[in-house]
Subunit: 354 residues, 2 copies
């Protein structure tokens, strides 16, 4: 507390049951149970309104007759350059993806930099170029921005916030709440590549060939899917906390059971190997260019074949379905060991993965 | 550079004339000449598009028949609690003001936290409560958010980004480019209070009575002004760099001369005294609840009397006018010492003021 004199003026005390923690921990930003608790009990309890859906990737609202999606994300990934991308590209694609997961066509993005004094201009140039390339590639415009510089040691190199606005077509209604019994679950490709790419650099691991982040903009894939049917119930990009966390959030939000089959989940041999070395379960490792879609059974085949024909969906698989049993839980059938509950992690697995 | 192996793949070199600096300095975030150079030569040169107006507080675009403003700001103020406000309240009011300066009615805000591991939950609670209070007070909704936690020492307590969306009524066309010869310049109140409040805490200065930040949401004042006339040419909230920087930006953008009268600029005696002690010129010190408006001469009296009748405009003054002489420059007439050019600062005056 900088100014105790001030403090006495407005002496707020956090009602401790709100968090059970006296200090913020890394796990509060990890995308697992503690993140959800902090967001739910601290922010949602106060910022409560009809548009603020905790388990959706953005807010959806109407202005006039037009439906919009609006989303924000700050990127603090470490290292800032990694195989397959960098913090700037990630910031553009990540917010595009959040909008796409609302079923929106992304239009305009804001960019806000917090830069550490002494940051190499060359690196900023490199990040800027790849942000513009990513935006151009995705057909979105970076229309407004902000630049702050903090003293050496007061942030870690560079943090980037992007917020985005997109429009949603009539008839599109995508929300984790819409997961319905019988829905088939499509996963658009191999998992855990972003997280493992980051961890490989951090841990200085060498593999036969480099594992690259899957960082990509998914809105065109979503557009393709929506051109096939508007009856998509849920879309989610499984970033922090991996597909395990995303599926758990959806199961809880819709109060349905989710059953997935382990041997249907695409993971490359290389990522499997790296996960074994690093001690990670790929279900919990972040992706930055994959989506999960919940589709009514009658529409699944058509949507699935469209996904498979898209460059970003070549390794897509139908990994499971929504069931009436065990509402709120995710269960995985394994070919070897029967069934097990895939729970949400309570702590943090990988800090600063995005 | 984390990963030299990576670097060789994409070997970007920043064309040095772009910035003349090999590293980012605090001055690049200070709101003066170097800030403008960085933004112009680095970001605008790449992100270039019709909506990205460097000298406006937000982007303005149409979707269907509706005109929107979209704005973003990251807040890194130090200390996070200060007389008259805190980082959370500042983040809400600051983005509301950026939208208001586009002539927009703010509707929806996003909130993204970057929190340092170990940050007191109590302080987060206090910030959350005041953000909600500020949003409620201003009639805006916080609809989407993001929470990241970084390791101890990797950021300074807490940084908050807010982005916002607002709608602009037909017939409203506010832009720094619109400053026209003959326009009168209204300043809505006493200057330099935010910056001095922050610096007083940092420097541990004691005054007879505490100087408080003027942190406030200005959209209602703008609404009042627009209900009087839509012929407002320019609005600007003089934050980083103070009224001197804002006026210089407008003069340069519109290529007009600006003449202001020193003795018309409202400054409290207390702030004057503090500026003398601290060695600051109040013209360059940040405000967080003041606006500058450029109004055609025929409309000025009506608008001015409306401003004066608003709670946030009680000390408003007409401080000058737009002239044809010395385009791109700001000149101040002093009662004692004749006229002098009020230039933009090249370096940083006050880091982390917002």
């Amino acid at each position: 507390m900088e100014n105790p004199k001030n403090k006495t003026e407005e002496n707020f005390t956090c009602p401790l049951p709100v968090t059970n923690y006296e200090h913020v921990t890394l796990a509060h930003g990890g995308g697992g149970k503690l993140s959800r608790e902090l967001i739910g009990q601290m922010f949602l309890s106060q910022f409560c309104n009809e548009y603020l859906e905790p388990m959706h990737d953005g807010a959806i609202f109407k202005i006039g007759e037009q439906k919009f999606a609006f989303s924000t994300d700050s990127y603090v990934v470490n290292p800032i350059f990694f195989p397959g991308g960098n913090i700037g590209e990630l910031a553009i694609n990540g917010t595009i993806n959040d909008l796409a997961m609302c079923g929106a066509q992304p239009l305009y993005l804001s960019v806000a930099f917090i830069i550490e004094e002494g940051f190499p201009m060359n690196d900023l140039w490199r990040i800027t170029l790849s942000m513009q390339a990513a935006a151009k590639n995705a057909g979105v415009l970076l229309v407004t921005g902000d630049t702050k510089v903090v003293e050496r040691g007061k942030c870690d190199k560079i943090f980037i916030n992007t917020s985005g606005l997109g429009t949603i077509d009539d008839g599109v209604n995508i929300s984790p709440k819409n997961a319905a019994i019988g829905d088939k679950i499509i996963l658009s490709g191999t998992i855990a590549e972003h997280g493992i790419a980051i961890m490989s650099v951090r841990e200085n691991l060498e593999f036969d060939s480099q594992i690259k982040s899957d960082c990509a903009a998914l809105h065109d894939l979503v557009k393709t899917m929506l051109s096939c049917t508007k009856a998509i119930h849920v879309l989610r990009d499984p970033t922090r906390g991996g597909i395990a966390s995303s599926l758990n959030e959806i199961a809880e939000e819709a109060q349905v059971g989710i059953l997935i089959e382990e041997n249907m989940i695409p993971v490359t041999e290389q990522v499997k190997g790296a996960c074994e070395i690093l001690g990670f379960d790929p279900l919990y490792v972040a992706n930055e260019g994959k989506l999960i879609a919940f589709i009514p059974p009658g529409e699944t085949d058509r949507v699935f074949s469209r996904v498979r024909s898209h460059p970003l969906g070549k390794s897509a698989a139908i990994i499971g379905e929504v069931i009436s049993d065990h509402p709120g839980k995710v269960v995985m059938k394994s070919s070897i060991s029967g069934s097990r509950i895939v729970d949400m992690l309570s702590g943090e697995q990988l800090p600063r993965i995005c």
